[in-house]
């Protein structure tokens, strides 16, 4: 049987303390654990942790539990929770920050398509300045679960017939300007 206990030494209090200093995360400490965020979230029913639990875990410093969760990746950034929260906690921004940190510390669920898509997307934008929907999806699928492509074939065909699917790889002219955008930003340690 698995041990279901948390020792206080597993809690990273310094991390929790620093967390609330980041842009958008300031009101985390006001959370009253009411669950409005989870009730409002269209995706909470698929999540391993509800958004409210994420907030509670961050507050208590259980860093790995949140960074390894699927929840942060399922969050579609719809901001519904942030608008409804009675304490004006920007849950969406907190989710964003956790995603970034999960990528940096390599703790995100492997082969889970969403973080893979995120990286493919960013690579393409950095290299070309624009994203080409077809190529991003193609590369994401190849790197996570190629079966996705099969299920999308029919839709792809429909789109192509209607002139809505371009195979061109877009690129901006002054691509050199993008070289000054740092590859990994400094704001995450």
């Amino acid at each position: 049987m698995e041990r279901q206990i948390r020792y206080q030494r597993e809690a990273d209090l310094e991390w929790a303390h620093q967390f609330t200093k980041h842009p958008g995360c300031e009101r985390l400490l006001s959370c009253i654990q009411c669950g409005t965020c989870s009730g409002t979230c269209p995706l909470s029913i698929y999540m391993d942790l509800t958004p409210r639990q994420v907030i509670a875990l961050v507050r208590e410093g259980f860093r790995e539990d949140v960074l390894r969760s699927q929840t942060i990746w399922l969050c579609a950034s719809c901001y519904a929770c942030s608008v409804e929260c009675p304490q004006k906690v920007s849950i969406t921004d907190i989710m964003y920050r956790l995603k970034r940190e999960a990528i940096r510390s390599n703790l995100y669920p492997k082969r889970f398509p969403i973080p893979v898509l995120a990286r493919e997307f960013c690579d393409m934008v950095r290299q070309r300045g624009r994203n080409s929907e077809f190529w991003v999806v193609f590369r994401m699928a190849m790197r996570s679960n190629p079966k996705i492509l099969l299920s999308m074939a029919r839709t792809g065909w429909e789109l192509w017939r209607k002139g809505r699917l371009s195979l061109r790889r877009e690129r901006i002219q002054r691509i050199n300007e993008l070289q000054y955008i740092p590859a990994t930003s400094k704001e995450v340690d």
């Binding site: 669950g35 989870s38 009730g39 909470s44």
Partner: protein, 665 residues
Amino acid sequence: MSEKKNGQVRIGVYICHCGANIADTVDVKAVAEYAATLPGVVIARDYKYMCSDPGQELIQQDIEEHQINRVVVAACSPSLHEHTFRGAAERAGLNPFFVQMVNIREHDSWVHTEREAATVKAKDLVRAAVQRVYFHKPLEKRRVPIHPEVLVVGGGIAGIHAALTVANSGKKVYLVEREATIGGHMAQYDKTFPTLDCAACILTPKMSAVKAHPNIVLWTYSEVVSVDGSVGDYKVVVKRKPRYIREDLCVGCLQCIDACVFKEPKFDDEFNLGLSKRKPIYIPFPQATPKVVVIDPEACIQLRTGKCKRSCLEACVERGAIDFEQKETYEEIHVGSIIIATGFKTFDPRRLPQYGYGRYPNVYTTLEVERLVNASGPTSGQVITRDGRVPKSVGIILCVGSRDENTNRWCSRVCCMTSLKLAHLIKEHTGAEVYIFYIDMRAAGKGYEEFYQRVLNEGVHFVRGRVAEITDWALDPSEEGKLVARVEDTNTGFVRRIPLDMVVLAVGLEPQFDAHEVQRMFGISCSLDGFFLEKHPKLAPAPTYTDGIFIAGLCHGPKDIPDTVMQAGYAAAEAIALADTGYFELEPNTAYVVEEECSGCKSCVPLCPYQAITFKEDKQKAFINEVLCKGCGTCVAACPSGSIRQNLFEDEEIFSEIEGVLAYA
């Protein structure tokens, strides 16, 4: 300078240790030694607790033995002990306004950590006070007489209790209520938590007692329209709206209502929150006090068009109480003090559209359900939904319009208990499954936790989570025809969908819609949340910053009936004490106009926040009413010719104080 005028000045300086509070940070000995070197200082001492009896005796002794005639006490804030030290001086025969306090605790030892710097600061402040006190003049406190009559505004349980208490002490009370009856919100309830006493059974005897009391003048359907004067003598004008019924003639037989040409009630009944209808001529509820009918001029055909058969008149022909010519009248009264008890309004849940109030007929507020469960309510106590069904499942959502940055930040304090009460009553009336959606269960009060236990044991479901939305959309066959609450049940960790026949919103308590006008008219203040502000949150929760005006009940902030009654009793006691003392002592730090210098420009007149300045047309000079002046200093600074002065803040006093602070030691 005016040295001669002050004769031989002999100053005593006293530095307080306040235990370790000051002495730990400030070198009190050094300050005392320094003070002894200042011009005019005859004696300088330090002592452990200056405010203790021996501390005060020290001052008294020095006054008597060393002929000290000015006193500087360097201790805590004057708001705490100025009174104490002035008293000590007075007992030793010195005019109390020869005492000056220096705050070396809140302004120094408590806010600094560096001993040396804090000591320097203490010396600077003491030097300033010594230089200032040099110029102090003897002042006299003035007394104003107190009219013994008391005005109570608002006839809810707070106003009723306050009025009865004052009246029982033998003083005359005017009780002014805006609605056609007294009783306030409490009259609308069926039972009261936590004892489940019948609200009417405990309230209506007090209502009748008000009506019958020889010392109470009850004016319902009336409003205060202006307030002038100050503590001891407030001149108040009350508007009495026409109810088109002669109160002295109506006996409350209600035959006119039966006789009205409207055979069926057609207009929304305000007392039942629109859950039932009434006629143009009506009585709010059977035990209304006074038991006198009212005619609604918006609804009555005669008053609207002048063309009605007026069958009501015929029914009342013997007594002749109906009077379509009635006009509003104004009464002017003089009272010594005022108790404001104007109560609250409930939060309008339309502001939270996710709960569907106003969109789905079966969404109610707690106040509406109070009427539904009431045996004399619109459904005679049957809990049936607007579409005529007895609900099998009922959900009560807590904290609606409370604890929410988007609406109101405060906890409304009574809605957890109200919801427990209604859960119990609904279950008792219908046998329905009842769900309480709560964030925190607040049941602090005598017998409250026990009541919570009782409701827990009755099998009410307690779902810990704030409902995200109410929808009428069924995702599952079991949800067809129902309202569905979507909520994270934080106890179990599931997001749940719970089908309900009836949703009850435990709406929060808010300041009255006209709280700001009332606040301005009576010259009191509001706290940030809009409720009236008390003088001190712990030690003076019924007095206000305006002398002679007290607040009681919900108008001061959310509270239950027991707390309301306690505060009302306390406000009444203060009003009685004031009246029994017979006078009120005014601080002498008032402003005055030096007439010869006043140029008659009138700049000061509109500036005074207390309306203390009038303009004497005959002399063409401004005049300041000492009784009204609060010593704020606004006019003193504003007068372009510098002709307004202020006691205790004379130019020479202030300038020498400033020089004292700046002369770096």
